[in-house]
Amino acid sequence: MRRFLPIIVVIGLGVGVAFGLREQFRTRPATPSAVPPGDLEVAWIHTTTNPQTWERFVAGVLQLRRQVPGLDVDDSRAFLDQTAAVPEVVLSQSGRPGKLHLRWYKLSSEVGNREWVDALAARNPAPIAFMGGGTSDRAIELAQALNERSAWKGDKRPLLFITTATANTLDPHAFEPERLIDVYPGRTFRGCFTNEAMARAVIDFVWQSQDLKPTGKSETRAYVLAWQDDPYSVDLAVQFDARFREGKNPGVPLRTVVDRIAYSVGTFTEPNPPEREVMDRILPDLASHPEDRSLLVLPAVTQPARRILRAFAADTPLIGQRLVAVTGDGVSFNTVFRDGDVVWPVRELSIPLVFFAHQNPVAWAADGGPDDPAALQPPNSTDDVLLFADIVRVLAEGVFAGEWPADADALARKLRAREKPFFAPDGERRSGEGEYVVVVRPQFLEGGRVHREPEFLVYTRSEGRWELVRRLVKQ
């Protein structure tokens, strides 16, 4: 037996090494990247299935090369070969040793907001800030995860920058609705406008547009749909309803009908059963007032909104002449303009649509070209890029201007002490200017026909009045 002992030992060692290596090479879903000493990291949390958003984010960061003199943007590791890797954009400024790493930590079915928060909190150093909340439900989840996490490396809790989540509250029907900005209190900053600001801007615009505002003999109607599985939808519906109830509509009284839809899941074309149920209630009501123009409030993302509008237009092809759909930022300019021929065929969706944009969607630059990553070229919308640029610029100025922030608290103090405030004291984006509204107006022809291309109108508010920025019609 002793003669075979060395062989057994060798085999045992081999098996042990193999198992050890197997553990070493095992995939770890939530593995944060290391932060070089002296540098800072901002964790951009976003879903894996939206690489386009990361590309637009990087394009927004590249805008800073033009906007902030002396700021260097290194995007050499922004687009990696492995889709499961952690890409990053690095900001630095000549004369400063420290760098700011903006990294995309990807949300997948395996790794959610909470898992990333836990993993990054355990790493030394923890991020100085998280950036995320592409949608309101994910923003709520991220804010809750950050708030519940008490132990952080360095004992400094990071900041939260909400990018495009607009919900004001978590549950507006609650007895005391909790504001999203207060879920992670005192450390949350929102770079976009809120649902309240959007609803106020859209309604303000509609009220000023004679060809869009609701009409009726004895009353006007606004049908408000609210998808209950989407906090953004519920909150935006409440904000629209609240703005309607403020009674700023001059003339005929407005009747608001709020319909709740259980969930948003559905196909590309057909309404899901709860949606069908709601439509079955609205369509007869609309049919009973053929001379009136009503508002259809669709606080939803593209797919549910499209399903509803398609179902309305399919039921009554010329319904767009007496129904105006309004929404927040759930429908993007890219959806209706760049991808409109596929995603938003106006002949199928022949209802005027008014939606909100956080930045100018048509700020295309005259210089540059398709090969210039920083160039803003049609037909891609520019609002998302410019919004990201605004958020990162404010963040970069907070990091690189003046004294290097030692921690998140120092960064928060610098952000609040800006000479030209970007955030309100509670962390919300300051509103009242800079909002944009886009109108997608089907062109009705004689004989009940609809032109295959709609008219796109982009407005912005300046000193309380809405001014046309650009009118576009595809040829």
Binding site: T49, V265, G266, F268, P273
Partner: protein, 544 residues
């Protein structure tokens, strides 16, 4: 030629086991990689489908997330799938299934980018089996019988809130319509089988070759080792012989060293003996000196005692009336007493002389030669059996010197000459005796008996010096003896039986002569050869 060595099988197994195991692991790993490589297309398809199931969202939530929500709602409602809230969530899941499948239906025929999905079914694992699965079925017909193999089934687990599998999403799909990759994989599989066979067979052959090679090499090594061992043994023997030789050399060296030590010891002993002899000689010199003093004292007393007998003898001789014979006897007594007195005077002169304390007076060297010859001629003739002859110069040879010292120095030379004639006589006699021819021996013995020693004292004048020669026909001297004869205590007569009874062999005579001559400003030349006698030539400055 090396002898073939047979090894026990278990030794071969033990020796080759690590290599064989490593080889099996390597080949196994290679087979695994190759087999994985041959179905990389199917794996890629499965990975695509899994990613689609995991990540596809119709509204923010993926199918697994909705399934988990459904399970939570079921749990909240006591696993009652008929509860309205559960039904609503089931409906939402159904919508998700439809939303996932509809785009694929929209682009049916666009394989492989848009798989044809025939059924998506969510089966629940832990709840009661009565819980119906949630499924979406395509209205499109399944492929015909001959294409059934193209339909694949993918079971994708869904983890519950506790991380354990709670449900399985089974998808029936077809993803390819004309898959060249599949064809290539089949070709590759066949190729890999051949490669595998070649690798395996080649490896087995290589292993066998290695075994035979090792066996042959082992035989060679064994032979080499044996040769090496034999050579080492020879070297050991050689080294042993060398060691023995070295030990012998060492022993010889030891012996030599011991011999040298003995020689040294002998030399030391000789030195010590010489020292002892010198000491003995000194003691003897002192003794002789003491004896001389005593003898002088006795001689003086005896001389004094002889004054009265001489006086009485003279009175008797001068008395009248003596008969002739009486007068003759008295004359003989008187002569004898005179001789005794003379001898005592000589003894007194001898023992009282000190060569370093000279009393210089004007002397006639011819007279000294004459006196010495007269003194020793009769004794030489009667007792020593030799001739002592004095041949003074016709010219006067006045010198300044101590009479006693010069007399003693000349007598020492005479005595040495006497001894040399004794040795020569013995030599002649021994040589005669050694002759084997009796007639010749007889004649030579007669000649030897007739041989007579001769000592001649000659004086002459040479320029400003007076020359005195003492010549003998004695045994002579070798050059070595001639060079050392003036050294104090050097003697050729010591331990010589010939001189037993004589006060000779102390090595003081010639050194005394040399000291005396030095005090007189004189020199001495010695001419001598073995068996040819010797001449001692003294040169003293003439006194004006």
């Amino acid at each position: 030629m090396a002898e073939s060595v047979s090894l026990p099988w278990w030794k071969v197994v033990r020796a080759l086991a690590p290599a064989v195991l490593f080889w099996i692991a390597l080949v196994g790993w290679l087979v695994y990689l190759l087999s994985e490589r041959t179905r990389i297309g199917a794996e890629a398809d499965e990975a695509t489908m899994r990613e689609w199931i995991d990540e596809a969202r119709s509204f923010r939530k993926t199918l697994p997330e909705l399934v988990r929500e459904y399970l939570r709602r079921l749990e909240e409602n006591g696993w009652d799938h008929a509860a309205p809230a559960v039904k609503e969530k089931a409906e939402e899941v159904q919508e998700q299934l439809k939303a996932m499948a509809d785009p694929l239906r929209l682009y049916q025929g666009e394989l492989p980018l848009f798989p044809e999905v025939y059924r998506i079914e969510v089966r629940f694992l832990n709840p009661p089996e009565s819980l119906p699965p949630l499924a979406w079925d395509s209205p499109a017909p399944r492929p015909r019988e001959q294409n059934r193999t193209h339909v694949r089934y993918l079971d994708h687990p869904v983890a519950g809130s506790d991380g354990k599998p709670a449900a399985v999403i089974r998808t029936e799909y077809r993803i390819h319509v004309f898959n060249r990759l599949q064809q290539e994989e089949a070709q590759r599989r066949r190729f890999y089988w051949i490669v595998g066979g070649v690798v395996f067979g080649g490896s087995a052959l290589a292993l066998a070759w290695v075994y035979l090679f090792l066996r042959r090499e082992r035989g060679r090594e064994l032979a080499q080792l044996q040769a090496e061992k034999a050579r080492e043994h020879a070297e050991v023997l050689m080294l042993a012989a060398k060691v023995e030789a070295q030990e012998a050399e060492k022993a010889a060296a030891e012996t030599k060293r011991a011999l040298l030590e003995q020689t040294v010891e002998a030399a030391r002993a000789a030195t010590r003996a010489a020292e002892a002899e010198r000491t003995n000689l000194e003691m003897r010199s002192q003794l002789y000196a003491s004896i001389g003093i005593m003898a002088g004292s006795y001689a003086h007393n005896i001389k004094n005692l002889l004054v009265r007998p001489n006086d009485l003898i003279n009175r008797c001789i001068e008395a009248d009336g003596l008969r002739t014979d009486q007068a003759s006897m008295l004359q003989e007594v008187k002569s004898t007493l005179g001789t005794v007195t003379e001898r005592l005077q000589m003894i007194l002169r001898t023992v009282r002389r000190d060569p370093n304390k000279a009393e210089m007076t004007r002397l006639d060297l011819n007279e000294l030669i004459r006196e010495t010859g007269k003194t020793w001629a009769s004794i030489g003739r009667e007792k020593w059996k030799l001739t002592v002859r004095a041949e003074p110069s016709a010219d006067a040879l006045p010198v300044r010197g101590d009479l006693s010292h010069l007399q003693q120095a000349i007598e020492n030379l005479v005595f040495n000459a006497r001894d040399a004639t004794f040795e020569m006589r013995n030599h002649v006699r021994d040589a005669a005796r050694a002759e084997r021819d009796p007639a010749k021996r007889k004649q030579e013995l007669i000649d030897a008996a007739a041989w007579r020693g001769e000592v001649v004292l000659t004086g002459r004048r040479e320029g400003s010096h007076a020359v005195l020669e003492v010549r003998d026909n004695g045994i002579g001297m070798t050059p070595e003896v001639r060079e050392q004869c003036l050294q104090t205590h050097f003697s050729t007569k010591r331990d010589n039986a010939l001189y037993e009874g004589y006060s000779a062999g102390m090595g003081l005579g010639l050194s005394f002569v040399a000291v005396v001559l030095e005090h007189h400003g004189a020199t001495m030349e010695i001419e001598s050869e073995p068996l040819k006698g010797a001449v001692f030539r003294l040169r003293l400055p003439l006194a004006e």
